[in-house]
């Protein structure tokens, strides 16, 4: 038993060493991206909770080699934010329906929008990562970054 355990610890060390010793240096642009990520922190904005991501749905995931559409559901207090992404568009819907200001943000740009009375808004597809900030009655809520 304990021999096995020791052998396994030794094997873990060996795996660690195999990757550690030859680890390539972190590319400069990636180290910079890690530092820049801080600027995207929204300190006073509540993070919506991911309730559903179609990419985590096993059926879609397994056969998802050509997934053309990805759907999300986020919870924010009494509201739900639904997001549908396709290769050509981004569609968001607030439930229960409400016309509110919102922003679709990527690394390089942020677009000011407003949902209609049905709580819906649609724009052309953006680059990813992308996230949506919604000014709900109880405060602004932002979705986690959507990364595809």
């Amino acid at each position: 038993m304990s021999d096995d355990h020791n052998a396994h610890d030794a094997l873990l060390d060996r795996i660690d060493d195999a990757f550690d010793t030859d680890l390539a240096p972190i590319p400069t642009h990636l180290a910079a991206a890690a530092r820049d990520a801080f600027a995207w922190r929204s300190a006073d904005v509540q993070l919506a909770e991911l309730l559903f991501d179609s990419a985590n749905d096993e059926l879609v995931g397994v056969r998802g080699a050509t997934t053309e559409r990805r759907s999300f559901r986020f919870g924010a207090g009494d509201f739900v934010i639904r997001v549908h992404l396709t290769s050509s568009s981004l569609f968001a819907m607030i439930e229960p329906p409400l016309s509110v200001a919102c922003r679709v943000t990527t690394r390089d740009a942020s677009v000011e929008l407003r949902t209609d009375e049905m709580g819906e808004v649609a724009i052309d597809a953006t680059e990813q990562p992308v996230r949506i900030e919604v000014d709900l009655p109880n405060g602004t809520v932002v979705t986690p970054w959507i990364i595809g």
């Binding site: 873990l12 030859d22 801080f38 993070l47 990562p129």
Partner: protein
């Protein structure tokens, strides 16, 4: 831009997290400097696909930034980052339907970064010491190649076990990896037995 000398990567992680929560970019930079290798190693262990590796690395820092105020035990951040990095790789692999890529590339001669180019560089200045070095290089390459042939679950579990410092207790690993706590010990054993069999297909019989 004057350097902010209040923060350095030598400081305890909880102090750096607190500084970042107060809005200090310098504290965040120190945090990145301190922990970027954990994230980088995690994504390199999870995939050989450069694009996915790079995207997952960047994504992990976006996740930390958006969740910083919900980190309850900052001293355990290395384990959190390793787990998050693994999850991001899996998410991107699933989303792009490219599970096969990491497997394919693991068979290529240049898998894992120390490729044929590095080998030639070494050969050109060959002497006795370098011959020993080559054997060690080759052994590490074999380990990486065997590791890449493990399934995603095994790669993730082992990566988190290797990189979580301090080690994650099973209850926490269970929560972060979203697996039943009773499965972790057996999974660890199964995954390590699997890589052992890949590394030594015909174990020597006589014993030591």
């Amino acid at each position: 831009m004057a350097a902010d000398l209040r923060f350095s990567s030598e400081q305890p992680i909880p102090d750096l997290v607190a500084g970042a929560l107060d809005g200090h970019q310098a504290a965040w930079n120190a945090l990145v400097e301190r922990l970027e290798r954990v994230v980088w190693k995690s994504v390199n262990m999870m995939t050989f696909d450069r694009e996915i590796r790079d995207d997952a690395f960047a994504a992990t820092w976006l996740r930390l930034a958006e969740r910083l105020d919900s980190i309850r035990e900052p001293e355990k951040l290395p384990g959190w980052l390793a787990t998050t990095a693994c999850n991001e790789v899996r998410q991107i692999l699933r989303q792009r339907g490219r599970q096969h890529v990491s497997l394919t590339e693991s068979w290529a001669p240049s898998a894992g970064g120390a490729g044929i180019g590095d080998l030639l560089d070494t050969l050109s200045v060959d002497d006795g010491q370098h011959a020993d070095g080559l054997v060690a290089d080759e052994q590490r390459r074999e380990v990486r190649s065997a590791f890449a042939r493990l399934d995603e679950n095994c790669r993730e579990i082992i990566t988190v076990l290797v990189l979580a410092d301090p080690p994650l207790p099973y209850d926490e690993a269970s929560r972060q990896l979203d697996r039943p706590i009773g499965s972790l010990g057996p999974s660890r054993r199964r995954c390590l037995e699997k890589i052992k069999s890949l590394l030594d297909p015909e174990p020597e019989s006589g014993g030591a």
